[in-house]
């Protein structure tokens, strides 16, 4: 640790300071607006500090963290997403009259966890980042407290996260026991062979470790919690779980495995492939006739992680770009989708039933349009980033000749069309039920602005993605 390292660490420091600042401020003056403002200031400062950190040549700070371009890009992404979530939460919390200050603190600590994850080059930071994220999320999921659903979701998440963390730690221990190293660079030679030449105990360790990762990513067979937590959690938190939590862990996975290319015949490759296929199939099928919009989004996220795994398994720089681009697209899309849910939710409950969306297009034209664009982006239709992203994934897969995976991807995403369009149909075609309460309070300006920005983002980079791709190219090049 040198003074220079502190500059490199600046984003993390700012991010760490932010919740403390919010907390201290709240201690003196409880104000929702202040908390949100400070949060946004903190997040903005973090983003600004990224550029400062980017000027540094030495990026590795202790064996634990590396602030290379990849990490900085992802921290920026996570931070921006968090800012989006924070703004979307404003109205949601306002309507529910709960103390909102802790919410923002937890949001910030969770983001800190995510930032640590994406910069992690060591099991210790991996584990700690994951736990900071998880522990913050427990409280965030249950945050408004007053409904059983929140508690139920939080308990499920906590128990599963705790136990899978135990698996993760146990796996780390086994790997360490056998190899004596806990750093990415130390593990690379082992992983490069897809664990082919490693001792069985290392293989065991890696698999156990992947349980923890798989849980966070919600891939089959560690996916069962997803719908319940998405449904139970407040909509903005759902957005957060779907984006920041998953994105950070996937970025970490990419960092650990990207420098190596899994040998397509190796056990690990086959395990990933099987998990990917199972996730794509199960995710899409589970959502097929689902009537709860949040659960639909949950199941679809399972499928999307399956898609991501396809590109993850592909080799070369293109695969890393594909994953990253897809994650960016997925972040924006999911935020927009959950944002709509959050914005439309009345105080009593979240607007999550499909019937809540019936005839939405007639009542709230632009909200419905934004949601539709988000859904089409999830479905991978052109003019949205989802299209380019999915195209990139398939390209990456095709580049590594993962034909079986691609074909599964293609076929299952076709199934996916069915449930996305169900929501679209509900909004545009159906009439509201007789006597049903008209869901769709006026969308507040802040949420509206975020939704508009996200939609514009989706479309602009869906039509002209080249600048973003160049940026991502630069970011992932530091991985290789």
């Amino acid at each position: 640790m040198t003074g220079g390292d502190l500059i490199t660490l600046l984003p993390l420091i700012v991010l760490t300071a932010s919740p403390v600042v919010v907390m201290l401020a709240a201690a003196f003056w409880r104000s929702h607006a202040l908390a949100l403002t400070l949060t946004l200031v903190g997040l903005t400062a973090t983003i600004v500090s990224l550029f400062i950190a980017a000027g540094r040549t030495s990026r590795q700070v202790t064996p634990l963290l590396s602030f290379d371009a990849y990490a900085l890009f992802y921290i920026g992404l996570l931070t921006a997403a968090t800012a989006g979530v924070a703004i979307l939460s404003w109205n949601y919390l306002q309507r529910r009259h709960v103390h909102p200050e802790e919410y923002y603190m937890l949001l910030l600590t969770a983001t800190l966890g995510g930032a640590v994850l994406v910069a992690s080059t060591h099991f210790a930071s991996f584990f700690l980042g994951l736990e900071i994220l998880s522990v913050s999320l427990y409280a965030l999921i249950v945050y408004p407290i007053y409904r059983t659903q929140f508690v139920e979701a939080a308990v499920k998440y906590l128990v599963l996260a705790g136990s899978t963390s135990a698996f993760l730690v146990f796996g780390m221990a086994l790997v360490y026991a056998e190899t004596g190293t806990m750093t990415v660079s130390g593990l690379a030679p082992l992983l490069r062979a897809g664990l082919g030449g490693a001792d069985v105990v290392v293989v065991l360790g890696v698999v156990l470790l992947l349980v923890g990762v798989g849980f966070k990513l919600a891939v089959v067979p560690f996916h069962m919690w997803t719908p319940d937590v998405y449904q139970g959690a407040p909509a903005p938190v759902g957005a957060y779980v779907a984006t920041v939590s998953k994105g950070a862990v996937f970025a970490l996975l990419l960092r650990y495995f990207r420098p190596v290319s899994l040998d397509p015949g190796s056990s690990l490759f086959l395990v990933f492939a099987a998990v990917a296929i199972a996730s794509m199939v199960a995710g899409n099928l589970l959502a097929l006739r689902q009537d709860n919009v949040k659960r639909i989004l949950a199941y679809s996220s399972i499928a999307h992680l399956g898609y991501l795994l396809v590109a993850f398994l592909a080799t070369g720089e293109r695969a890393a770009i594909a994953v990253t681009f897809y994650l960016v697209a997925y972040f924006a899309t999911t935020l927009a989708a959950f944002g709509v849910v959050a914005a439309l939710s009345p105080p009593e409950r979240d607007a999550e039933s499909l019937s809540d969306y019936r005839g939405l297009a007639r009542r709230r034209r632009w909200t419905a349009t934004a949601f539709t664009i988000a859904l089409f982006s999830l479905a991978g239709m052109p003019l949205t980033m989802g299209f380019i992203g999915k195209f990139y994934l398939v390209t990456a897969g095709a580049g590594s000749a993962l034909w079986a995976l691609i074909i599964v991807l293609v076929l299952t995403s076709t199934v996916g069309l069915y449930y996305y369009t169900r929501v679209v149909v509900a909004m545009w075609v159906r009439q509201p039920d007789e006597g049903a309460e008209a869901m769709g309070a006026a969308v507040d300006g802040a949420s509206g602005a975020v939704l508009a920005a996200l939609t514009a983002f989706l479309i602009v980079f869906g039509v002209y993605p080249a600048p973003l791709i160049h940026l991502i190219e630069r970011a992932v090049s530091s991985l290789l």
């Binding site: 136990s163 730690v169 146990f170």
Partner: protein, 102 residues
């Protein structure tokens, strides 16, 4: 000091770990479930200490410390949740938490 085989240390950790896992699968009382998670985490920490002992370095113990911190955090939030759970559902039976499904 006489050497304990690495395998035996790890096997002990594994045994404790799976016992915790059995508890997780069979016990419905939230407090016990949390205790089982503690058992598993403890076992994992044990594995780290064993591993550290193999290499004769402090890393294992450091990791144990982090696990310890995490366990503490987990338990703190977990027990707070248990209080809420009891308030919301009247009991501590995790099986009661099946409102959301499908």
């Amino acid at each position: 000091m006489a050497a304990v085989s690495l395998d035996h240390g790890l096997i002990l950790a594994a045994i404790l770990f799976v016992i915790g896992f059995v508890g997780l699968l069979t016990r419905r009382n939230l407090i016990v479930v949390l205790a089982c998670i503690e058992i598993m985490l403890n076992a994992a920490g044990l594995a780290f200490v064993v591993a550290g002992a193999r290499w004769g370095r402090a890393d294992g113990q450091v990791m144990f410390l982090f696990v310890l911190a995490m366990a503490a955090a987990e338990v703190a939030v977990g027990l707070a949740l248990a209080i809420r759970f009891r308030q919301s559902l009247g009991r501590l039976d995790v099986d009661d938490a099946d409102e959301m499904k499908g």
